[in-house]
Amino acid sequence: MQKVFRLLTAMALGLSVLVSSGHLFGQSAGGSSVKLNVVEHKFKNGLRLLMVERHDTPVISSHIVFNVGSVDERPGLTGTSHILGHMMFKGTTTIQTTNYEAEIPLMQEMDGIYAQIRVLLDKRTNSTFTEADAAKVKELRAQIDALQEQEKKYTVQNDLDVITAKRGFNGLNASTGNDTTQYVETFPSNQLEVWAYFESERIHHPVFREFYSEKDVVMEERRLSTDNVPQGRLQEAFEATAFTAHPYHEPVVGWMTDLDTVTRQQVADYFKTYYAPNNTTIVLVGDLNPDEVIKLIEKYFGSIPSQTPPEGVHVVEPEQHGERRVTVKFDASPSLLIGWHVPNVLHPDGATLSVISSILTSGRTGRLFKGLVLDQQIASNVASNYGTTKYPTMFRLSGAPRNQKSLEDLEKALLAEIDKLKKEPISDEELQKVRNQIDANFARGLESNAGLASALGTSAVVLGDWHQILTLNERRRAVTAADIQRVAQKYFTTDNLTVAYLVRESNGPARQNRRGNPGQGMEKSK
């Protein structure tokens, strides 16, 4: 559910960071007095700052979390949060330019030409141009390329990356999800003021130069992460089937035609609406002095005006009445993704749902690995997911059948494990095991500066308060066997179920697995 803007440094934000409770700083097991030395500060313009001091190595990890994600997009503008994330690396009125004033007319001219292209894009039938239109589009695109080349006279390629790399920052990156957009970096602690300057500049005075070539990059990203990858295709089909009214229906990366038609002005408007200080949380963990940081941030971010808070999402996914199924054909081995509509973790049942996820897939004795992979040998792998989300979400199970076994076999076996949760109360020993894991995993989540920054930022923005990390731990520890049975019965019903299958569609000479893969009962050849 998470798109990384720049390189494929996969981040699992919002998936696993909030699974825990526990004891810290040598306190004994079962202790609930977790102490996290978080310093929180709110600035006059609404900007929120969270800090944790750690002086082991002179480095600082930064997460800047904007309270906006694909959930805030509208039809025709899917993928805009993600494109905006890309554009935030293209400089400002000072960064990446030697003369911003001279760039303005060139960018305006490009936008004018693009308006002509958009008219032709809308004339397409089944995404195909007429011959005349195709030639015209090609000519217009060449004009944009030429103008972009002219603009290079006044720009410094990849300036922000080069400036920061020279000063010891790791490759700056960002990722967006359904609910948030996060900008991340780790840097030597003596570069704090450099960090404050460029991070405030790009909120204050960003310039979305190289807009058209960057949209091409984003389309390549979509091809790489979704179009040509079985799991990407499967997930996109699953979400689009499970959600009908709620915007979790839309892919974070956006639909290809929306990526093609979105304009620079639309992205700029989106930026204006959502990138306000009162919609932003900065998290810094590492070799820092909180008082100095507050002064620096006041100096650089203090003059950015607060805005009217943006309109939130009002639509609620209507109750599902009856099972939904979808099939995706792809040249790959079969796999499946199934799930049920459930509330988010703030709901009273949320802690129980996350405990159920641990029961099913934590460690080699997790019920699904032990039952389906090890003992029954129906699956070659299985996973469960109940993420940290702002709105009601899906409780998901995924897996791949062993060869000789079918997707139907696997689905049946998964549902049998779910039935067991409904019918038989979990033993005290198994529940205690999960609690022990909650304790240990909480501490593990705090080991790295970047991991802690991510957990705090996600909790603060998605759940409204960083303290939810701690509260959720306590709630998870308090879950009983009766809770688990009740919650399983309440949500894991057939009428509330969505099932997505990925089945093989071989083509060309790449059908190398035919002979040895009797799982081809699932294959549909052309």
């Binding site: 480095v59 400036i163 960057e214 081995s333 040998q377 080991e447 500066n449 040895g516």
Partner: protein, 493 residues
């Protein structure tokens, strides 16, 4: 950890930049490096206090000890969290498998973790570890075998007992052996699902031929591996005088050593000698190998054999590759192929300078089917520019400065730091490698970088693997090199 020292990195890497010059596009490589943006001029005036830090060292920041039976320990106490990390390493790995042993190092490592011990059946091991939430993972790399553990300090005693038992007394039962072989088979059956993985794997196989570096699970060989092979591999490599444990976290050193001596009691020294690894031979003929697979994007890996880690030019090569395609968004590949031309999301190069035998120079890109030729031609142009055109002083300095000022981040985690230092000894690398790294990078001259580009980038030796809709680009690619189709090996049971 307190590893602040008096070395002033900032002073070491202080550089003077020319004033901002607006240059027309010349087509020369790195021409933008001469320009300075308004923003950089502002940033240069911002205060950056000196960073008091130097790379951590054994004996000062990390303690090293040897136990009577030959186990070597690297230790660092850290009481900030109630956790203990153990990184166990043994010399040995895939590089030392004979052709008939292909897959044995990995299979043995997996079975140690999943097959139980002589005293404790597999299921009991899993249950005991999961109950106290102790994670143990066992794996094999080219040169080393690993057994790593993360446990809470509260339950560390029990976790350590199981950890030691797994290392000393694995049971290797036949049912688990067959299960793990079957799991490997499942992976083989699925290995052609993702085009980028196909490209990476087939490229490596082609350039290395039969050498272990080029191997990838061959079911015909793996299915013949027997319990006695696994037992013999384990007996040979998992011996105390071939064992290193890097331990960090919430422990008291004296107590920990007493615990380790108790847990590994009875584990006796044995004669051990590492076999001589095979040399890399020249692999497939240069040219373009096309795997036909439907889709709207081509996945491409290309490159050739490179250098081993004992080559004196590794530092100059590191700087050169940073500029070409290794330096993330600052590299020529990213600036030209991604940011200017919009041809790819991922484009980069790696020049391996850390392998015992010859590593590889590898370029990676994925681009839409229609621009396959265009992207490849552009990358070749950048390689050729790197070899033939002079580098700008600004860009050269910027690359060096980036590598050096980011170096502190390498040591951002305590467990990682101990692991890095210990690994130097395990693989027999210069113990001062990390200590001297900055000095060695700093010594690299612009002439060195230009020389290694000419010497080690070999356009006429490039092997390309292109996975995609071949009908759409095969003809165009002939302008680059000879094109032949590559059939993926069928899975046969």
């Amino acid at each position: 950890m307190r590893i602040y020292k008096s070395l002033l990195i900032c002073a070491l890497i202080l550089l003077i930049f020319a004033a901002a010059v607006v240059m027309p596009q010349t087509g020369k490589q790195g021409s933008d490096a001469k320009k300075k943006s308004l923003g950089e001029a502002i940033i240069e005036k911002l205060p950056t206090p000196p960073l008091r830090w130097s790379p951590p060292e054994v004996g000062k920041d990390v303690q090293r000890k040897t136990l009577p039976n030959g186990i070597t320990l690297y230790l660092k106490e850290d009481h900030s969290l109630p956790l203990i990390n153990v990184a166990g390493r043994f010399r040995g790995g895939q590089l030392y498998e004979s052709p008939s042993q292909e897959g044995l190092a990995g299979l043995t490592a997996t079975l140690m973790r999943t097959g139980g011990t002589k005293e404790m059946p597999a299921q009991k091991v899993d249950e005991s570890l999961d109950y106290i939430s102790a994670n143990i993972a066992s794996s094999a790399d080219q040169e080393t075998l690993s057994m790593v553990m993360n446990a809470t300090s509260k339950d560390f005693g029990e976790a350590l007992k199981i950890y030691a038992d797994i290392i000393m007394n694995p049971a290797f039962p036949d049912d688990r052996l067959n299960f793990e072989k079957e799991q490997i088979k499942q992976g083989i059956i699925r290995r052609n699902d993702n085009p980028t993985r196909v490209a990476a794997r087939e490229f490596t196989r082609l350039i290395y031929g039969e050498h272990p570096y080029g191997r990838d699970a061959d079911w015909q060989k793996i299915k013949t591996l027997k319990r006695e092979d696994v037992v013999a591999w384990h007996d040979k490599y998992y011996v105390p005088n071939n064992a290193w444990f890097g331990i960090t976290g919430d422990f008291n050193t004296d107590e920990l050593i007493a615990n380790l001596e108790k847990a590994f009691a009875g584990w006796e020294k044995k004669p051990f000698a590492l076999p001589v690894p095979p040399k890399v031979q020249t692999g497939a003929k240069p040219g373009i190998y096309v795997v036909n697979k439907a889709g709207n994007q081509s996945a491409i890996d290309f490159g050739h054999l490179g250098v081993d880690r004992n080559n004196p030019d590794i530092y100059a090569i590191a700087v050169m590759n940073y500029i070409l395609g290794g330096g993330g968004f600052a590299s020529h590949y990213t600036q030209e192929v991604r940011d200017k031309a919009g041809l790819a999301y991922t484009v980069n190069s790696q020049f391996d300078t850390s392998s015992l035998e010859a590593g590889a120079f590898t370029s990676v890109v994925q681009t839409k089917t229609e621009t396959t030729y265009q992207a490849l031609a552009l990358m070749l142009k950048l390689i050729n520019q790197m070899r033939t055109e002079p580098l700008s002083e600004e860009e050269f300095q910027s690359a060096k400065q980036s590598i050096m000022s980011g170096y502190v981040r390498t040591f951002g985690s305590l467990a990682g730091t101990v692991n890095l230092l210990m690994n130097l000894e395990v693989i027999g690398r210069d113990p001062n490698y990390y200590k001297n790294y900055l000095t060695n990078i700093n010594k690299v001259t612009k002439a060195d970088v230009e020389r290694v580009a000419k010497t080690y980038l070999k356009p006429d030796q490039l092997v390309f693997v292109v996975v995609g809709n071949s009908a759409a680009f095969n003809d165009q690619l002939k302008a680059i090199a000879e094109v032949q189709s590559l059939e993926l090996r069928p899975f046969v049971d």
